[in-house]
């Protein structure tokens, strides 16, 4: 193992590799800040530029973009309540209230500390657990994947502020929206009404831009003033960075949640972000502080999404199964370099693999340093007048919706979901359940059908497999628990 680490370090400690990593990280931080233009989009745009690079440089630059975007995505979540990345959406729950209290720098310090610690742990897990964990993930059958998708949706709906029924209904709405387009099993058109645009289904980016960015913009215009209500900034970056390590349990727990979910293909950093937040809220001694600027509410989602990204590469590199969009694009890059992902890659190209792992480790530190340098400038946004900032945000967010597919329809979809989302949010419907439903919809339906096909249409397959039955039982407990708790008089006031 030590030989491999030295081999990787030797491969990556070159000025050229550092330059590519810095370039990738800066691009990542920048696109992470822009709502709608996430890391995968930037990686996809830059893939053609990697053809002429050597494989390690290409992989390092692309991976640095993804690491930088994960860091950058939290900036707008905290400062504007608009996630730059879907995987940073839950960070806004407590990051934004903290920014409103004038503690934007503290919030971003917390985010940087949690991201750095979790990214390092994630890369360590990637290094040492690739083989065995990938084998374990293979034990998941479609029935378990379906159960996991439903569990993800249930946890988010139950934990979201407001009524559980509304949360579940929003989840169902997200799942229903994911049904639009060509069905992946039979190729049948569903709910397209002859519109070519709808054949591929509703794109996730404009929905996210609408639900998060436009709804927030509407609220901002209504409220006016500045984001930091007092119009000034308190606390320092280092206070936040230091505070991260005062919550070791939340940090370790959320890193573990993210790392575990990263290893399961299809779950992704977005689901990990929300699940870690929910788990942290449920295990906290002061759950009532969540949503009002609790440090754990920033540490949990940031730690989980940053540990999820490296571990999502485990099934991608060892089995060729992408864990999410980022690892899918990295797989494309590996293939374009004439290499074949899989166990053989570790034996035939150890220098590349271990150089890549060491590069990820160095990249996490690099992203943190660049992020910390840029934070004081980012934080000034919170004391700019909303009157000037609102039109800028409108332009940038709708440009993000357009730029994703260069399609005007995406702009209209974003506007529609923005207006609809505003009224839903105003009436206490958790929008995040809708987004999670939309993300997990395809996975849920695909797994549902595959499980039925494998079991010869025996619906009992979902409860006869112990793991799947256990996950469904957990869903049931999560839904029923708040009611049971109320009846038993165990506290838990209704949150409206």
């Amino acid at each position: 193992m030590l030989d491999h680490l030295i081999l990787g370090l030797t491969a990556v400690l070159h000025l050229k590799q550092f330059m590519f990593m810095i370039a990738g990280t800066v691009i990542g931080l920048w696109v992470g800040v822009l709502p709608g233009l996430g890391g995968p989009v930037a990686m996809a745009i830059l893939i053609p530029f990697t053809f002429s690079m050597d494989p390690l440089s290409a992989l390092l630059m692309l991976a640095s973009i993804s690491v930088g975007a994960a860091f950058g995505g939290s900036v707008t979540s905290i400062l504007l309540n608009i996630p730059g990345e879907a995987s940073s959406a839950a960070t806004a729950y407590d990051g934004y209230p903290m920014a409103q209290q004038g503690k934007a720098k503290v919030a971003m310090g917390l985010s940087a500390g949690a991201s750095l610690a979790a990214a390092i742990v994630g890369v360590m897990i990637l290094m040492f657990a690739s083989g065995p964990v990938a084998k374990a993930a293979l034990a998941f059958s479609p029935a378990e994947y379906f159960a996991l998708a439903i569990l993800g949706l249930t946890v988010v709906s139950v934990a979201a502020l407001g009524s559980t029924v509304k949360g579940l209904a929003m989840g169902a709405l997200g799942l229903a929206l994911s049904l639009i387009g060509i069905d992946s099993i039979l190729g049948a058109e569903r709910y397209t009404f002859g519109f070519v645009y709808l054949l591929d289904g509703i794109s996730f980016v404009p929905v996210m831009v609408g639900l998060f960015a436009i709804t927030e913009l509407i609220s901002m215009i209504l409220e006016g003033g500045t984001i930091a209500k007092a119009g000034k900034l308190e606390g320092s970056l280092w206070d936040g960075f230091r505070d991260t390590f005062r919550y070791p349990f939340t940090l370790i727990q959320s890193t573990a949640v993210g790392a575990f979910l990263g290893m399961i293909p299809g779950i992704g950093a977005t689901a990990a972000n929300f699940l870690a937040y929910s788990v942290a809220q449920r295990s906290s001694k002061h759950p009532e502080r969540f949503g009002k600027g609790a440090p754990e509410g920033i540490i949990a989602p940031e730690a989980s999404n940053n540990s999820c990204i490296p571990t999502s590469l485990i099934p991608a590199l060892t089995l060729g199964i992408p864990g999410g969009a980022t690892s899918a694009i990295l797989l494309v890059a590996v293939t374009l370099q004439g290499l074949r992902p899989g166990p053989m890659l570790f034996t035939s190209n150890p220098e590349l693999i271990w150089g890549f792992f060491m590069g990820l480790l160095i990249g996490a530190v690099m992203a943190t340093i660049l992020y910390l340098i840029m934070i004081p400038w980012f934080a000034l946004i919170t004391i700019v007048r909303i009157e000037l900032m609102a039109p800028m945000l409108l332009i940038v967010t709708l440009f993000g919706a357009y730029a994703n597919e260069r399609n005007m329809m995406d702009v209209f979809v974003a506007i529609f979901f923005g207006l609809f989302g505003y009224f839903l949010r105003r009436h206490g419907y958790p929008l995040i359940s809708l987004v999670i439903g939309l993300i997990l919809g395809k996975l849920a339906e695909g797994s549902f059908h595959q499980a039925l096909m494998i079991s010869d249409h025996d619906y009992a397959v979902f409860i006869l497999r112990p793991l799947s039955a256990g996950i469904f039982a957990l869903c049931l407990v999560l839904v029923l628990w708040p009611g049971v708790k109320r009846r038993l008089g165990l506290g838990g006031a209704e949150v409206t």
Partner: protein, 168 residues
């Protein structure tokens, strides 16, 4: 019960009705889809209908329990004057329309000048400078750094064709 709270509850039940209609449509319109492709929509649609009915029961009870008043966390947005409310709700759709008709540059410039003015921002000079810089930066970044050609809009395209300005 005040007019505001009446409006709030009207809005609440309209949303419930809209959601109910959506889920009913998901179930009803799946009728012509082959069985395997229809199964999941049927399940999700039916679950959605039940959940929406659950919400309506919950809201009727909440309304009764609160004597029609607006729930605490959901009332802050109600007390805003109508020009501000209209600006908030119409900014995005009007920007989208201008974007489609006249392209990104003109729509952005109009948004940068009009929205702050409608919100009561008084420093015209700063506004103009900010608008010019913002639009110029985006006009440079989009095509050259992000490789995204900014659309000229339906009217812009028509004018370019009419005046034979298109390259090639």
């Amino acid at each position: 019960m005040s007019t505001d709270s009446r409006g709030y509850w009207r809005e609440e039940f309209s949303l419930i009705a809209l959601l109910l209609l959506f889920f009913i449509a998901i179930v009803a319109l799946s009728y012509h889809i082959p069985f395997d492709a229809r199964l999941f929509p049927l399940l999700i649609g039916s679950a959605g209908i039940l959940l929406t009915l659950g919400i309506s029961v919950e809201q009727v009870r909440r309304r009764g329990a609160r004597d029609g008043s607006i729930p605490r966390n959901e009332e802050h947005v109600v007390s805003v004057d109508w020009p501000r409310y209209a600006t908030a709700l119409l900014s995005a759709p009007i920007f989208g329309l201008l974007f489609w008709l006249f392209g990104f540059i003109i729509a952005s410039f109009a948004a940068m000048l009009l929205i702050p003015t409608l919100m009561g921002y008084a420093n015209r000079r700063r506004l103009l400078v900010t608008a010019v810089i913002t639009v110029a930066v985006l006009a440079v970044i989009a095509p050259y750094l992000l490789n995204v050609e900014l659309p000229q809009g339906v009217v812009g395209d028509w004018l370019i064709d009419k005046l034979a300005l298109r390259a090639g």
